[in-house]
């Protein structure tokens, strides 16, 4: 070896230029491919295209029919259990998942017909004292992560981020006006024909002008008619639209509450607005007030994970007004801390309901995110919301939107107070 090393003659000769050139081309090509791959992740609006990213087991889980599995899980847990079995079964579940049976209401375990009903249990009054801080926990669970939103990027866990627009959706230009806006066009309501077409005996003008009755929770109440009969004119296309609204297209705004206010409600809401310190929102900052923060303000986020044994109803974390909700039909990956650490974009891939509004300090958003075992999200003041329905999920990022402007005209949204129950997660 030594001989070979010392005696072998060294012969120098010029490398042909072509090899150098080929090397440069190869380096250039690799750079271009890498850049193209990054570009491919951006759609026409420059928004990042949400893709499944992570280690191989994430892709294996992604290939499973998670939504069907979730619905099957929900169906199985909706089956009624024999009364004699319920105490044993629920005690075993409570032991396995660490539920506290002393604080549930009703305490009698036989009164829960299925595991799904037990999962959506209520708590005794006073079981959760409310702290006087400006922000309290909306649910029982574990703080997964929290911090300040930097450059519209939210940290899922240390080192993994996603874009705020991907989580909350982006206002789309040229949105079809919602029925609520048609409904509020006073020129079509001062019309007996409109009233007849809609099977009611008064027009909104008469309601606001004469009645003092409080509105029913669904549809219109029928207060006494005022003396003068409004001028009758042939029904217009808007009356027909209101009488027979077209089927909802995906992504079209629908109005989740058609309750019209009367004078008392308006006065009551004005006092609520003062009490909550929430400005009546006449200026429409758009749902993403997150873009135009007030000077000296920042955007914060926190992620709370609810374990299978936790109480699964969620409450209002502060005094705020929900202006609209965006329902994103998505996948139903597990959202356990284990998965959150591995699957990028987890919270923007999963089915979720973004409740957007404002509180005394500006923009406020709350996003319940579903998971494989709890794919159904309920919002008490939104009866039209249906989650985890059958059918192929649309591309990530598409959403259907409902506005709560009719819930209260002063606040232009659904007012919520501290720790007020808002809804919850159901099995399946």
């Amino acid at each position: 070896l030594m001989n070979a090393w010392t005696e072998t003659p060294t012969k120098w000769y010029p490398l042909p230029l072509a090899v150098g050139a080929l090397l440069l081309v190869a380096i250039q090509y690799r750079k271009k491919v890498k850049k193209a791959r990054l570009e491919a992740d951006l759609d026409e609006n420059g928004m990042e295209v949400i893709r499944l990213k992570g280690p191989w087991h994430v892709h294996v889980i992604g290939a499973l029919p998670l939504r069907n599995m979730s619905r099957l899980w929900g169906y199985v847990n909706s089956l009624e259990l024999p009364i004699w079995f319920r105490p044993y079964g629920y005690r075993f579940y409570a032991y396995a998942f660490g539920c506290n049976l002393d604080e549930i209401e009703p305490a009698d375990l036989r009164s829960y017909p299925s595991l799904g009903a037990f999962f959506y249990r209520k708590l005794k009054d006073g079981a959760r004292p409310v702290d006087p801080a400006i922000l309290v926990s909306p649910a029982d669970g574990t703080i997964l992560h929290f911090g300040t939103v930097q450059g519209m990027q939210v940290e899922q866990v240390k080192g993994i981020t996603y874009h705020l627009d991907a989580l909350l959706g982006v206002e789309r230009p040229g949105h079809a006006p919602s029925l609520a806006e048609h409904g509020r066009d006073m020129s079509i309501v001062d019309d007996q024909e409109f009233a007849n077409v809609n099977g009611i005996e008064y027009s909104l003008e008469q309601l606001i002008g004469t009645s003092s009755s409080s509105p029913q929770s669904s549809g219109f109440s029928t207060p006494a008619l005022s003396s003068h009969a409004p001028p009758v004119r042939p029904p217009t296309e808007a009356d027909a639209l209101l009488a027979h609204p077209p089927p909802k297209k995906y992504g079209e705004r629908i109005d989740a509450s058609v309750v019209e206010p009367d004078r008392n409600t308006v006065a009551h809401d004005a006092s609520v607005a003062r009490e909550m310190g929430v400005r009546p929102s006449m200026e429409r900052k758009g749902s993403l007030g997150a873009r135009n923060l007030r000077p000296g303000h920042s955007l914060f986020f926190t992620v709370i994970y609810l374990a299978p044994g936790d109480y699964h109803r969620f409450h209002s974390p502060t005094a705020w007004v929900v202006e609209k909700r965006r329902h994103f039909v998505g996948e139903l990956f597990s959202v356990s801390p284990w998965m959150a650490k591995r699957l990028e974009n987890l919270f923007v891939l999963n089915e979720r309901v973004a409740l957007l509004g404002r509180w005394r300090h500006g923009f406020f958003g709350m996003v319940p995110v579903g998971a494989t075992n709890v794919g159904s999200i309920k919002v008490n003041f939104d009866q039209t919301l249906r989650t985890n329905v059958r059918g192929r999920p649309p591309p990530p990022g598409t959403f259907s939107e409902a506005v709560y402007s009719n819930a209260s005209p002063i606040l232009r949204g659904q007012p919520l107070n501290y720790a007020e129950e808002m809804g919850g997660f159901c099995l399946g």
Binding site: R128, A133, V136, Y311, V335
Partner: protein, 32 residues
Amino acid sequence: STIVLVFEAPSDFEFTVHAGQKVKVGERLGDL
């Protein structure tokens, strides 16, 4: 399941929790 809160607040808002902490409904998350 998970709940994500995203909100605007004065920059001196402070969280009073830490990652991994168990919380219950109504407990303090942060204050000014």
